[in-house]
């Protein structure tokens, strides 16, 4: 029995040491990628190509989810608010929920599972099929040519996707509450506009999405680049990308919210 406990503790220790090791490797990789980003910035065409794959192809899922989230928020908000006779505040509820929290967080989660996993799988497969080694042998740095453009494309796409998510969501809330239920249109917009502050709500929301974009794509490219070059390795790395970046998004969201909205009603 004690032997088992000792083994268990050893296992935990091993895993902790292993994760610290990985974190160190990830940080070094991240620095290396930033240092080599200059070359890929000069060839913006590569980034445009990747924006197409990460941003444009994520549009449909983002827009559709945003619409439905907004519609559900409108419906639920209306149900609750009308008990207090303040159903005209439903616009405020929808807009603040979306702009402050749901827009950045849900868009980032969707982005992680749609684009993040694709980035990891692609880079992992390029490694497994020796494409990265071949590039290295052709005297082309794979971090500058393959990794950095994907990273920057993700960082650029993320705020746009989240903004689209939020605005489509507000429109969804408008559809349900104003068009279907019949909340007064004027008070819907005016209450929303008086409650949503540009500096505190929208700018902070955009800052959040930028942070999430960096986190998700950095995790995705690292997992891909670090994946064991086998089929099992790539699929494991893809799963880890989705899990790690989802946890990172939620954790970072808490930290950022605590900083940004502290002491405000």
């Amino acid at each position: 029995m004690p032997r088992r406990i000792v083994l268990g503790i050893q296992g935990v220790g091993h895993r902790v040491i292993e994760s610290v090791w990985r974190l160190g490797r990830a940080s070094r990789f991240f620095m290396l990628m930033l240092m080599k980003s200059g070359t890929s910035m000069r060839r913006f065409r590569l980034i445009i190509r990747e924006i197409y794959f990460t941003g444009v192809l994520s549009l449909i899922i983002i827009v559709v989810s945003g619409l439905f989230v907004g519609m559900v928020l409108g419906l639920q908000g209306y149900e609750t608010l009308q008990k207090y006779g303040s159903e005209s505040a439903v616009g405020t509820l929808v807009a603040l929920s979306l702009v402050r929290e749901l827009g950045p967080v849900v868009a980032a989660l969707l982005f992680a599972s749609r684009a993040g996993s694709a980035i990891t799988a692609e880079i992992g497969l390029m490694k497994a099929t020796e494409q990265l080694a071949a590039m290295e042998m052709m005297a082309v740095d794979p971090i500058a040519r393959v990794v950095a453009p994907r990273f920057w494309a993700g960082v650029i796409s993320m705020p746009f996707l989240a903004a689209m998510f939020s605005s489509v969501g507000v429109f969804g809330g408008y559809l349900v509450t104003v068009v279907l239920i019949g909340v007064d249109e004027g008070s819907f917009w005016s209450q929303m506009q008086s409650a949503v502050d540009f500096r505190y709500d929208i700018v902070n929301g955009v800052i959040k999405t930028c942070v999430f974009g960096v986190a998700v794509t950095a995790i995705a490219v690292f997992e891909g680049y670090d994946a064991p070059p086998t089929a099992a390795g790539v699929s494991g790395a893809t799963t880890r990308t989705v899990v790690t970046s989802s946890l990172a998004i939620l954790g970072l969201d808490f930290v950022l919210t605590a900083f940004m909205f502290r002491g405000m009603s």
Partner: protein, 157 residues
């Protein structure tokens, strides 16, 4: 061939993203009506601010003219110093009256400015001399009950 269609899509994507940001800023948010860039600050001391919070609106005649920036406690005079940022479009006379009001019975608290008749206008950093504290509901109810009680006592005698 394929490249140009890809560029087109990316271009559309960026345009849609910027469009969404603009919608958020102008239609959802209040950037159209209130800009923090051009404003000046005023201060006021209140005996009791009740539930006033930073970022609460400052209204005059019901129109939002600015926001509460900061609330500090002054340990010498034992009152609350409220800093407000006011839109430069709106100027107020020196003898303006600032009071902490509540919108509705349970709504949020805000600062109401009632303009006076002075010729001289308040400048950035000035202090509003005439202030009126927040009405604290418990105190008001307490006072009301006390008055009632004393009234009925008077009536009995």
């Amino acid at each position: 061939m394929q490249r140009t269609t890809m560029d087109l899509w990316v271009g559309l994507f960026v345009v849609a993203g910027i469009g969404a940001l603009l919608v958020l800023a102008l239609k959802v948010g209040n950037m159209g009506t209130y800009s923090a860039a051009q404003s000046y600050t005023l201060m006021g001391s209140f005996e009791n601010i009740g539930g006033l919070k930073p970022r609460a609106p400052v209204k005059s005649a019901g129109v939002v003219v600015g926001r509460v920036l900061d609330i500090q406690f002054n340990p010498e005079t034992f009152d609350a110093v409220v800093t407000m940022s006011i839109d430069t479009r709106y100027q107020f006379p020196k003898d303006t009256f600032a009071s902490i009001l509540t919108s509705g019975l349970l709504g949020e608290q805000y600062i109401g400015l009632a303009a006076g008749g002075d010729e001289v206008m308040l400048k950035g950093g000035d202090k509003i001399m005439k202030t009126n504290s927040a009405i604290v509901l418990e105190e008001m109810i307490g006072r009301f009950l006390f008055n009632k009680a004393s009234e009925s006592k008077d009536g009995n005698n």
